[in-house]
């Protein structure tokens, strides 16, 4: 399968990601600008060709990051959209540029995702402020912090509960299946020089590493870190007038979908990461005219091992209820039926939040171009990139290789 260039289609023209790591000597703008410049060069365009810029950065969302990038790479006066959408921030930046191109307001756009987290440690748990006088406040009339008294608000815990909820409803899922997800992603990362960590761990090392929130041990949790990624998108109409060697490397965005939570009863008290992911996947498959069986690789949002396992089912990569069997049978390993997170995933490649949803698209693009080096999935022609941010936002992009 290879995509033709129709005028109303949208394509990835250039892509780049920095290695995810910790960069104490560089700032967010340095990282974002490096990726932006490199993505422009990769697409053989200049900042003067860019009609729209969308920039995703969660923790500096109010910091005009997009405009500060312009001051580094070129102030052309084009519209800038600074976006924040939890862990789907990067995908939202891409989606914003997609919409501008599809609306006919831009022919070429740049989406940048960047984050500098350093060693933030555990996310999501509120430090409890001990009040001297118990007085109700907030929407629940709480007299003190509820985290730890009425369940957990920490990210490893919230996603652990999503995993055990799946285990409640379906057989064949336990501690070992979740651990095997992390084993796979650490193993995959040894082939990816852009990954924050590139080290293999044994199942025993993963299962015996410090318990964060059962069943998620430390080695089943993504790290915090720094990094940036950028993609240049172009309309099919504009791409058709570009040189043959540029067209050949372009990758079609066959589907670009963003969803939020529809009402479910349980999502009033715990995040429901399933329903909106299923909706996004179904919409994306419909839009792209491909099915999960057509995918040569998937980059999905494995913020924790428990999350990856349930997304096998949500993205229809396995039989309904069969996520445990899928990992046990080797399906998502790089030599399996549907390779998942051959980059090492968030667990090992890293998760600088704003960059993640752009980096996933970079990764799939690299494989479809045949430029992924040692980790290349040979002959890849169709891939899917998925991210989810709590509260919730889910982005799914399906990419296809260009016709020769």
């Amino acid at each position: 399968m290879a995509a033709q260039i129709s005028p109303d289609s949208v394509w990835v023209l250039g892509a780049h990601m920095t290695r995810f790591a910790r960069y104490p000597d560089r700032d967010l703008i340095d990282l974002a600008s490096e990726s932006a410049m490199a993505a422009l060069a990769d697409g053989e365009v200049t900042v003067g060709d860019i009609d729209v810029l969308a920039c995703g950065s969660l923790f500096q969302a109010s910091g005009a990051v997009g405009q500060r990038i312009q001051k580094q790479i070129g102030q052309t006066g084009v519209p800038v959209y600074n976006v924040a959408n939890a862990c789907a921030t990067g995908a939202t930046a891409i989606r914003t540029v997609m919409m501008a191109i599809k609306a006919g307001e831009a022919r070429i756009g740049l989406a940048v995702g960047a984050e500098q987290m350093g060693k933030m440690g555990l996310l999501g748990g509120a430090t409890k402020k001990e009040k001297k006088v118990f007085e109700p406040s907030g929407r629940y009339g709480a007299v003190t912090g509820v985290d730890g008294h009425l369940g957990t608000e920490t990210m490893p815990g919230v996603f652990a509960q999503a995993g055990t909820a799946y285990a409640h409803d379906h057989g064949g899922v336990g501690f070992e299946q979740f651990a095997r997800v992390a084993y796979k992603n650490h193993l995959h990362s040894t082939l990816n020089p852009l990954a924050q960590y590139q080290k293999e761990f044994s199942m025993a090392e993963i299962m015996e590493s410090p318990m964060m929130s059962y069943p998620n041990t430390l080695l089943m949790c993504c790290p915090t870190g720094d990094g940036a990624a950028a993609v240049v998108l172009v309309s099919g109409e504009r791409l058709a007038s570009m040189p043959a060697h540029v067209r050949k490397r372009a990758v079609k965005v066959s589907a670009s979908v963003l969803t939020s939570d529809p009402f479910t009863e349980d999502c009033q008290v715990q995040p429901d990461v399933n329903t909106l992911t299923r909706n996004a996947a179904d919409q994306a498959y419909e839009a792209a005219g491909v099915g999960p069986e057509d995918l040569d690789l998937v980059e999905l949002h494995d913020c924790f091992a428990t999350a990856e396992l349930i997304h096998y089912d949500n993205l229809r990569l396995c039989e309904p209820g069969g996520a445990g069997d899928f990992i046990d049978s080797g399906g998502p390993f790089r030599d399996g039926a549907t390779p998942v997170n051959v980059s090492g995933g968030l667990i090992s490649k890293g998760h600088p939040i704003g960059a993640t949803g752009v980096a996933n698209v970079y990764e799939v693009t690299a494989h479809l171009r045949g430029e992924a080096g040692d980790r290349q999935i040979e002959g890849a022609t169709v891939g899917l990139a998925h991210v989810i941010g709590l509260a919730s936002a889910c982005g799914v992009h399906i990419l296809e290789k260009a016709a020769a």
Binding site: L122, G125, A126, T127, K128, E130, K131, K132, V133, F134, P136, R139, Y140, G141, A142, V143, T144, V146, D147, G148, H149, L150, G151, T152, T154, P156, G157, A160, Q161, A162, T164, A165, A167, H168, F175, P210, M211, M212, S213, Y214, P215, N216, F263, E265, D266, Q268, V269, Q270
Partner: protein, 132 residues
């Protein structure tokens, strides 16, 4: 004199017996523990208080070993579906915080416990679920 007691959250009522009270959409029956401008399911705007069953089933859990400073660990965080179909987030209490003791699908019952006192001696009362 017994110390004054206040519920940790306003949807926990201590009298006559401890129970939770949800805001129920009078049109579709969806339940919420905070105020809503309109029902998130059907969009109607009228709600009425509804008492929530104290017993239910453990639908999801995690055993938290790392938490924010000041929060005692380990503890069992839980998602419970009560027998009247209400979803509640809380802790499993009076149960070993180990995977062997905490079982998905086990029956649980709401109980209350004191989590501390303020400078005036007023005690805060939380709710949790214990295995039955």
């Amino acid at each position: 004199m017994a110390p004054a007691r206040v519920p940790l959250v306003d949807y926990l009522r201590l009298e006559p017996e401890p129970h939770l009270v949800a805001q129920e959409c009078i049109s579709c029956g969806a339940r919420f523990f905070d105020r809503r401008n309109a029902c998130a399911r059907c969009g109607r705007t009228e709600f009425a208080p509804a008492s929530v069953d104290g017993s239910g089933e453990l639908r999801a859990f995690t055993i938290v070993h790392r938490a924010a400073p000041g929060i005692p660990v380990p503890f069992v965080s839980a998602i419970v579906r009560t027998d009247d179909g209400t979803w509640v987030r809380s802790n499993v209490v009076n149960c070993d915080p180990t995977p062997d003791a905490v079982k998905l699908g086990m029956r649980v019952q709401l109980i209350t416990h004191t989590i501390g006192a303020d400078d005036d001696g007023t005690e805060a009362v939380a709710f949790g679920y214990e295995p039955v």
